[in-house]
């Protein structure tokens, strides 16, 4: 059976017929279709969200996403919090990768408040950001195989992710939520011997990635179940606001670190990993190459960064910091795509509005609904994981 059967085409499965307006007529009472709720309590969805699937046989004919199970009202709570008090709340927007949020909010506050960050602090921020990227990728690259029953590599990946979490614990004191990056700088210098221990971990992770290649990349079952599945046509990338590895897998050479250089990424030597097939396998490949790039970047940062220096600029009293009126936009590349914060300050101690927008906001609502059509129901979870769905950043 050829894989092209699953790709979305204009003349989709002929079983449900379309009326004059092009809308599908799905009559549940005709007993040809079954409505299946995938989630929120389901092992096949990432995080806490749900999909309302109408299936004909095992083929999805209609998909609706339902989000809001994790809605905490961040943007409302920011109205009651001072800028520094927003940090603990804001970083919980995406659980696996909080550091990009820390950086974005800190950068936005600095831009609006007019603070210059010392050089050493910027290098330390880069270390934290790249380590965060690596630990997410270690969970996600083997996790792609976990969605099709290959549980072993994802267990391995979790073990190697722990090594990076250990380094985080050493650097910041926290495993998951670090609160390391603050307006004006960072909270601490590298502990003694940190670089050596991180290098040891990187060597281990490199050899682990060779195992991943053997178990996943060279695995026929994995290839058969990912090639040609969940294809995003290249002309969908812009109207759907797709960013990050998903856009790169469709042939777009887009990376915030290259396009809008922040911190000292322009001083580092790295390439943008691009694939062209735009299916689940291509996205897996882009992430797999990103692991190597990240490891290489971490080594470059460690060799280029100075040993000593100021890590925190002078800021006004953070609990009494009146930020002048203004608006700004901050962006940052995470392992899953672009994080964009839009900040509006009104001259008081409280932010007027902080709008947070993560990559899943574009990937996992409108795009996912479109992609799932004509997919096999057993591929739904692997498509979701390949889009790097993270519900808390949709609903915040």
């Amino acid at each position: 059976m050829s894989n092209t059967n699953y790709s979305w085409k204009n003349n989709r499965s002929l079983f449900p017929e379309a009326d004059e307006t092009g809308k599908l007529v799905v009559d549940l009472d005709s007993q040809k279709y079954i409505k299946v709720w995938q989630g929120p309590n389901h092992p096949g969805v990432t995080g806490n969200m749900s999909l309302e699937l109408t299936v004909s046989g095992d083929e999805v004919v209609e998909a609706k996403t339902h989000v809001g199970y994790l809605h905490r009202g961040f943007e409302k709570l920011f109205e009651r919090r001072r800028y520094i008090q927003c940090f603990p709340t804001c970083i919980r927007m995406c659980v696996p990768e909080p550091d990009t949020n820390e950086y974005n909010l800190a950068r936005g506050t600095e831009l609006l408040g007019g603070i210059e960050v010392p050089e050493m602090a910027n290098w330390l921020r880069m270390i934290a950001l790249e380590m965060a990227r690596l630990q997410v990728l270690l969970r996600m690259v083997p996790g792609q195989a976990g969605t099709m029953g290959l549980g072993l590599p994802s267990q391995w990946g979790l073990y190697y992710r722990e090594l990076i979490l250990d380094r985080f614990e050493e650097l910041t004191g926290g495993r998951i939520y670090h609160m390391y990056i603050l307006p004006g700088g960072v909270r601490g210098l590298l502990p003694a011997g940190f670089k050596k221990r991180l290098e040891e971990n990187l060597v281990k992770i490199e050899s682990f990635m060779k195992d991943v290649d053997r178990v996943i990349y060279a695995n026929t079952v994995f290839k058969k179940r990912t090639k040609g599945i969940g294809i995003i046509p290249a002309d969908w990338i812009d109207p759907y606001g797709v960013t990050g590895p998903v856009a790169r897998a469709a042939g777009y050479e887009r990376d915030v670190r290259k396009d809008y250089p922040y911190l000292y990424y322009d001083q580092l030597d790295f390439g943008v990993n691009v694939e062209h097939e735009s299916d689940v396998f291509a996205r897996f490949l882009v992430r797999r190459k990103d692991v190597d790039t990240t490891i290489d970047l971490l080594r470059q940062i460690m060799s280029k960064m100075p040993d000593k220096g100021d890590i925190k600029a002078e800021t006004p009293n953070v609990l009494h910091w009146k930020i002048p009126r203004g608006e700004t936009l901050v962006r940052c590349e995470s392992s899953r795509g672009e994080y964009i914060f839009y900040l509006v300050a009104d001259g008081s101690m409280y932010p007027r509005r902080i709008n947070l927008r993560g990559p899943s906001y574009a990937h996992a609502v409108t795009l996912l609904e479109k992609l799932l059509i004509n997919a096999n129901i057993s591929d739904v979870s692997s498509i979701m994981v390949s889009l790097a769905t993270c519900p808390p950043e949709i609903e915040r």
Binding site: V67, G68, H71, G73, E75, K76, L77, E79, R80, R82, L111, L112, G114, W236, D238, P239, Y240, G241, Y252, R254, D259, Y260, N317, L319, H320, G326, E327, T328, L329, V330, I340, Y342, V344, R352, R353, N355, R357, Y361, A362, V365, T366, L367, E395
Partner: protein
């Protein structure tokens, strides 16, 4: 960049043009001219990506601000366009025909601020909340603390030792 601003100035009633701290050009335009302007920017000037669509509630001025930030991936530039609309029966033209994922933003804004976008797909379905029967929560006149205390059985014994209050008493007594 200057050519585009000049061009826009000629064709559309833009005002309050300024540069944000991050190099983002921000400008305001009348609500009626927004969609023609976005269409022109998208088709003629390569601003093909909608980065964010955000709403800000200016309760004291009795108006909502909608910010459309669009991005040109080739020139790597962002352009922010502000629109001010009145607060009662707030309504705005939908842009889902220009960008598919604008529908998600509009659905959220409809629910959180009560700004209607007629014609946007699924805009009337609840997005994040379920069974909500109060003011749209992101409006500034909705008091989240009061609502939470009335609804969710706060556990007694929560003592606030707010450093901000203490600091205000000690350091900034006159504010």
């Amino acid at each position: 960049m200057k050519e585009i601003i000049d061009h826009l100035k000629k064709r559309f009633p833009v005002y309050e043009i300024g540069e944000g701290p991050n190099g983002v050009i921000l400008m305001s335009v009348e609500a009626a001219k927004l969609v023609p302007m976005l269409t022109s920017l998208k088709t003629n000037h390569g601003y093909g990506i909608l980065v964010i669509l955000s709403a800000v509630d200016w309760l004291e001025d009795c108006k909502f601000q909608l910010t459309y930030i669009i991005n040109n991936p080739d020139e790597k530039r962002d352009l922010g366009i502000r629109v001010f609309i009145k607060r009662e029966d707030a309504e705005m033209e939908s842009i889902h025909s220009l960008w598919e994922h604008a529908a998600t933003f509009q659905r959220e804004i409809k629910e959180m601020f009560g700004i209607n976008f007629p014609g946007s797909p699924r805009v009337d379905e609840p997005f994040l909340l379920e069974g909500w029967d109060n003011l749209p929560p992101m409006r500034r006149d909705f008091d989240t603390k009061q609502y939470s205390e009335d609804t969710y059985f706060p556990r007694p014994g929560r003592e606030t030792n707010d450093p901000a209050e203490y600091m205000k008493q000690k350091l900034y007594p006159d504010e």
